[in-house]
Symmetry: C2
Subunit: 266 residues, 2 copies
């Protein structure tokens, strides 16, 4: 069974031109070594916020989440599916990696629905995923292409929707698990799941369901990591082989299991 | 041999939400009737100019052509490959047409190079096309998908380039002619090539090389149309079966040869 790696890169890499270039070079090398089979999911970083400021559009945040009004949707569509996605694709192509950039609307790859308002909070054009359609993804992966997914989906009624990139990575990994041996990699600024959030040397190399229960009971894991780990175990329960969390700069080592935290059911 | 229609839509449709929605509905119907096999090439309309104004970026024009400096390239990438391309794809999907939006960087579909400066005029990040790679296009068309091309290309060295949409349509039609029976349709605000530029009822229904020579000799064609017609004949000489110029609102009639001007070598 072909090995597929679904790799999410965080905003801190997107925002740093040099780090992004280095990451994409390494990503291209890994993709070529694996005969394709890599899927890159990117978020948006601070570019959308900066563009909104430049355009004089005020951003509304509720509990740290941006409310996607019509103007904000326009901005994130331009920045995520346009500027960031196409620049990533062009850089991967320059590194010999045959990349293709898609939003969820393209080929109906990710079907979503507009998030329903909760009490007083209307999240606007935020999308929750219904389904990842793997037909086109499979066809592209079989042609050894690398797919680059922007965090914009659609409702198949003509509405684009702003969708969380972590969730896109997770749902894409789950859907592809029906046909492939899928690893899901969340790369970010830290070296993995840490015992001490301020000390990068305290990475926990492996977590399984029983050690996760223990770590939670002993309150050894930074509270902010717990939803990420809950999601990781949910992905494993849906067929994903392993979830790896670690530093984007160490992509090769993450893929080879030599760095970061590997979460598995075994 | 499968019939393929490469259809360019002009800025006047892009700029008008209602006209665009009506066009895309008709386009989807035609695409479904043809079992896929439609390629849509869109320009940018006035959105990019408006966004630049909103961001306080001054546009430089030389002989009516926009100079693509780094900031302008960022804007056209966002607007063309992001906002316009993804909204067109989402609307086609809503109309039951399995569309996928691509820039020239995606799958290395359109390889270009930065236009060399002419005398004092440096066009900046404007791209002239080297080659349209049909492998991915063929694979998508064989899967009955509809391809939507944004006028952004790349040089395979990591640089995105702003590229004329008419030229993208023409080069794509020429490249696909190696394997398909290709018609190239330029849809715009007029009913076709007119004898009197101000009278839409003076459409010339058909032009062949000898009638084109005559019309030029008698100065019966509006001078602005001559480069378009020269390009049309160049496309025919490269294997395109026919070129049709006419009104976007009458897409079905253009495809069926019941409206517009049909340019052919016969």
């Amino acid at each position: 069974m072909k090995k597929i790696y679904v790799i999410k890169i965080g905003g801190n890499i997107i925002d740093d031109e040099e780090k992004l270039a280095a990451f994409l070079k390494s990503f291209a090398t890994q993709s070529i070594a694996n005969n394709g089979g890599l899927v890159l999911v990117h978020g948006g970083g601070k570019l959308a916020t900066r563009l909104a400021e430049q355009m004089g559009i005020e951003q509304q945040l509720v509990d740290g989440r941006r409310i996607t009004d019509a103007e904000t949707l326009k901005i994130v569509t331009m920045v995520y599916a346009g500027y960031i996605n196409k620049n990533i694709v062009a850089q991967l192509q320059a590194n010999g990696c045959n990349a293709i950039g898609l939003s969820g609307a393209d080929g109906n790859v990710i079907l979503a629905h507009k998030r329903t308002a909760k009490g007083d909070v209307d999240y606007g054009f935020a999308g929750d995923i219904n389904e990842v359609n793997t037909d086109l993804l499979k066809a592209l992966l079989e042609q050894q292409m690398t797919v680059v997914l922007a965090p914009i989906t659609h409702d198949k009624k003509g509405q684009l929707l702003n969708t969380n990139a972590d969730t896109i990575a997770q749902e894409t990994a789950k859907a592809l698990s029906a046909v492939y041996d899928v690893s899901l990699i969340y790369s970010f600024e830290k070296s993995g799941v840490l015992l001490d959030a301020n000390d990068d040397s305290t990475v926990i190399p492996a977590i399984d369901p029983s050690s996760f229960r223990e770590l939670k009971a002993q309150q050894k894991i930074f509270a902010g990591m717990i939803p990420k780990l809950d999601n990781a175990f949910a992905a494993l329960d849906s067929g994903v082989k392993k979830v790896i969390i670690g530093k984007a700069e160490l992509l090769e080592q993450l893929i080879n299991g030599e760095s970061g935290t590997t979460i598995s059911n075994e």
